[in-house]
């Protein structure tokens, strides 16, 4: 692999550090937030712009050193973006189902079970 010129090394380094910091922050939030529903928000930092910054850095790095446009990462961005919601929604719905089954009062009941409310 050939040497990476400075004009490319600077944005690559900045993007990798920014993406890494965002992902790290997401992980810190995941650990430190207290409730499950607050926690599921934190890792989306890593799966949105954390992932996009690192992928962009990878595109620049391999396009410059390999002398051709590296396009794999574009697919990576698309697939992470369309698959993450499925996992998140599954987790959120499973947690809600559990909390409702346990009769916890801090989660909303299904609509069919609260018809006397004005919502």
């Amino acid at each position: 692999m050939s040497e990476l010129p400075l004009w490319a090394a600077v944005p690559v380094a900045m993007l990798v550090v920014a993406g890494g910091l965002l992902t790290l922050l997401g992980c810190i939030g995941l650990v430190r937030f207290q409730s499950f529903y607050a926690r599921i928000h934190a890792p989306t930092l890593g799966t949105s712009f954390g992932m996009i910054f690192v992928s962009l850095a990878s595109i620049i790095y391999f396009s410059v050193t390999g002398m051709r446009f590296a396009s794999h990462e574009l697919l990576l961005i698309v697939f992470v973006t369309i698959t993450t919601p499925a996992t998140l929604m599954l987790l959120a719905r499973a947690a809600l189902h559990r909390d409702r089954a346990e009769g916890r009062s801090d989660v909303p009941l299904p609509r069919s079970m609260r018809q006397n409310e004005d919502t």
Binding site: L22, G29, S48, S71, L96, P108
Partner: protein, 162 residues
């Protein structure tokens, strides 16, 4: 379209994805990719999905830009919340939003937009009442969130599909 190509756009998309993955435009890869694309397209025909009808496809890039800007803004907002409110913000709560959108494909789009934006998660959709239950990390003004979801995303999706 017919039984061989129930989803021509999907098949074409799969072929493009295959060629990007292989990073090659050789005839062999085009033939192999076409076989896979046609086969997968025919297989999804069995699922009897409704094909989205885009009435105003030129609004799709507008929606894309709006969503990208919002994802950038909410990345900053959630990162700031993690830094400043270590143990979790006291403003996290569920929020129910009445929807006008009923098209299944439109709802898929809306769910992806809402869930890929940090700070909002799609929790439940009530098909009878057509309401959406979200969990939002930082609710200061409920109406502001309802206006964002309905005004920025739902209105555009309705316009694209209607």
């Amino acid at each position: 379209m017919n039984r061989v190509f129930p989803h021509p756009v999907l098949s074409l998309g799969l072929l493009v994805i295959w060629l990007i993955l292989q990073q090659s435009l050789s005839p062999g890869n085009i033939v192999l990719g076409a076989i896979i694309a046609i086969g997968a397209g025919a297989a999804t025909g069995a699922l009897a999905l409704t094909r989205p009808k885009l009435k105003k496809p030129w609004l799709v890039p507008v929606l894309f830009v709006v969503v990208t800007i919002d994802i950038i803004r909410s990345n900053v907002a959630v990162a700031w919340l993690i830094l400043t409110q270590g143990s979790g913000p006291g403003t996290a709560r569920f929020l129910e939003i009445p929807l006008e959108l009923r098209d299944p494909n439109g709802l898929v789009f809306l769910s992806m937009i809402i869930t890929s934006t940090p700070g909002t998660v799609w929790v439940e959709h009530d098909q009878q009442a057509n309401t959406l239950l979200l969990h939002i990390l930082d609710v200061i003004d409920e109406q502001e969130w309802i206006d964002t979801i309905k005004g920025r995303y739902e209105r555009l999706i309705l316009e694209i599909l209607a």
